[in-house]
Amino acid sequence: MLEVKNMSKRFGGIRAVDDCSFTVRKGEITALIGPNGAGKTTAFNCISRTMAPTSGEVWLDGERIDGLRPHQITRRGLSRTFQISRNLADMTVLENVICQSRTEGWRDMFRPALSEAEIAKAMGILDFLGITRIAQEDGSNLSYGQKKLMDLAALLMSDPKIILLDEPAGGVNPTLLEEIVGHIRELNAKGLTVLIVEHNMELIMRLSDRVVVMAQGTVIAEGTPEEVRADPAVLDAYLGGVLEAEE
């Protein structure tokens, strides 16, 4: 469904992403893991076109999208969250979320934004994530975890076909995380494709169908969670023998 071909991104001398290729299959949960600075976030940025890749191609559903602008990509059903959550100050959480809902054409643009239907939908999502109480709170006055959750809520608002999550579990309370995991599963079951970056290995192991491992900008391994975990290169570059301790 999503295919990244030979993508590279350089910052001056640093090759953040270096000739990286991988695919995300429809209906699967794919995890992208790798040590810090491997280029995962940069890869996300290049896919969603928040940054322009230096070279390479990105295909979504058989259509090349690396020339499009970010909003066009979003409108084609690919939504992402940010590792360091970005939220809109001076707008309530509700508005933050509704802001992400789709707008089609001129007439829709000038229709009232906070319509009953939109509010109901947004509140439903907030409720599910357990943050109803902050619906009227200013988007910038949130705790770290709350911001992450709000991001996720906003993401769901746009009815995406594929979502790119950049460390959704970071800073989220384990109890709540369980619920989120459950929900991602549920969405996935309904056909949503997920690409997720995470350092929480335990979560990755439980959640993902396939794992892509990046290091120094390139893909060094790919396969099912079990395969990847057994891969010595991955152990060396990333896990550092922690997993054994977890068990």
Partner: protein, 292 residues
């Protein structure tokens, strides 16, 4: 050929003065994120200090310069204490400061006009209307001295920022106020001192301006747009950028004035601003805004 040299010389001479006028503005923006629309009116204040020194005691404006700088720096301290200390905590900080400094500009203008009337003034030390002649090319002494003094001041400032401990603190505060605070920087003090330095530079520039241009309280509006263009062109907050922009544009404007007529020379500053913003939105020496 002599024509061309002459134009370059004149452009450079004017550029030196603009450089100092703009660098205080750039410093204050860099450290405090204040777009100080009052800067030109404070330069005017410095010019009046030099003027009265010259008129009453016959003090050469170059000698009055430190006095003007100190008086204005003190004004800066006062302004900071009264206004910006509180504002620093406000979320709307950067846009508020634009408007607040606009208000200050009006207060300064009104104050100067009440105190000194709106009559135009200019100081006339001998060198103000004299020039060195090298062949048929002349170098105006007034602007030459002003340019040299301003370069010396800017260099001193740059060294101070780069190497002193306080300079470090200033840069840190610029980038992340909260973090600087956590590192043990008294951010309020940093703000105060850098604002005072910036306004002090305005005072110094004022002393130089007093014999280069004639002035009256409401004239600062004419300077605002030009100085602001320089600062944006150079890259907001980059003092080096401002200085370079001042020189490059002044020379360019001199050429435009020569070939297309004086009317269009002023336009150079604004058109250059647009062209640069189109090609390089962050300005000549500005850092690329960060993404994601």
């Amino acid at each position: 050929m002599a024509d061309i040299i002459q134009i370059v010389v004149l452009g450079l001479a004017l550029g030196g003065v603009y450089a100092l006028m703009g660098s205080g503005l750039s410093l204050v923006f860099g450290v405090m994120r204040i777009v100080n629309l009052a800067h030109p009116s404070l330069i005017m204040g410095g010019a009046y200090v030099a003027y009265w020194g010259f008129r009453l005691y016959g003090v050469d404006p170059l000698i009055a310069l430190p006095v003007a700088a100190i008086i204005l720096a003190a004004t800066g301290v006062l302004l900071y204490k009264l206004i910006f200390e509180r504002e620093a905590k406000s979320a709307k900080y950067s846009e508020m400061t634009v408007l607040l400094t606009f208000a200050i500009a009006m207060i300064v203008e009104g104050g100067l006009a009440t105190a000194f009337t709106n009559t135009q003034r200019v100081t006339s030390p001998g060198y103000a209307t004299d020039a060195f002649f090298i062949g048929s090319v002349f170098i105006p002494k007034g602007q030459l001295y002003a340019g040299m003094v301003s370069l010396a001041l800017i260099a001193a400032l740059a060294l101070f920022l780069k190497y002193s401990r306080f300079g470090y603190a200033i840069r840190a505060t610029t980038q992340n106020r909260e973090a600087a605070e956590l590192m043990g920087v008294n951010v309020n003090m940093v703000g105060l001192v850098s604002f005072a330095i910036g306004i002090g530079l305005a005072g110094a520039a004022g002393a130089l301006v007093s014999f280069v241009f004639s002035f009256f309280p409401s004239k600062h509006w004419e300077w605002v747009a030009v100085l602001m263009s320089l600062v944006v062109l150079g890259g907001m907050g980059s003092i080096l950028g401002t200085v370079v922009a001042a020189y490059v544009l002044s020379v360019l404007a001199a050429f435009v004035g020569y070939f297309f007529g004086a009317t269009w020379s002023v336009l150079t500053f604004y058109l250059a601003l647009f062209v640069v913003l189109l090609v390089r939105p962050q300005g000549l020496f500005g850092e690329k805004p960060e993404m994601a």
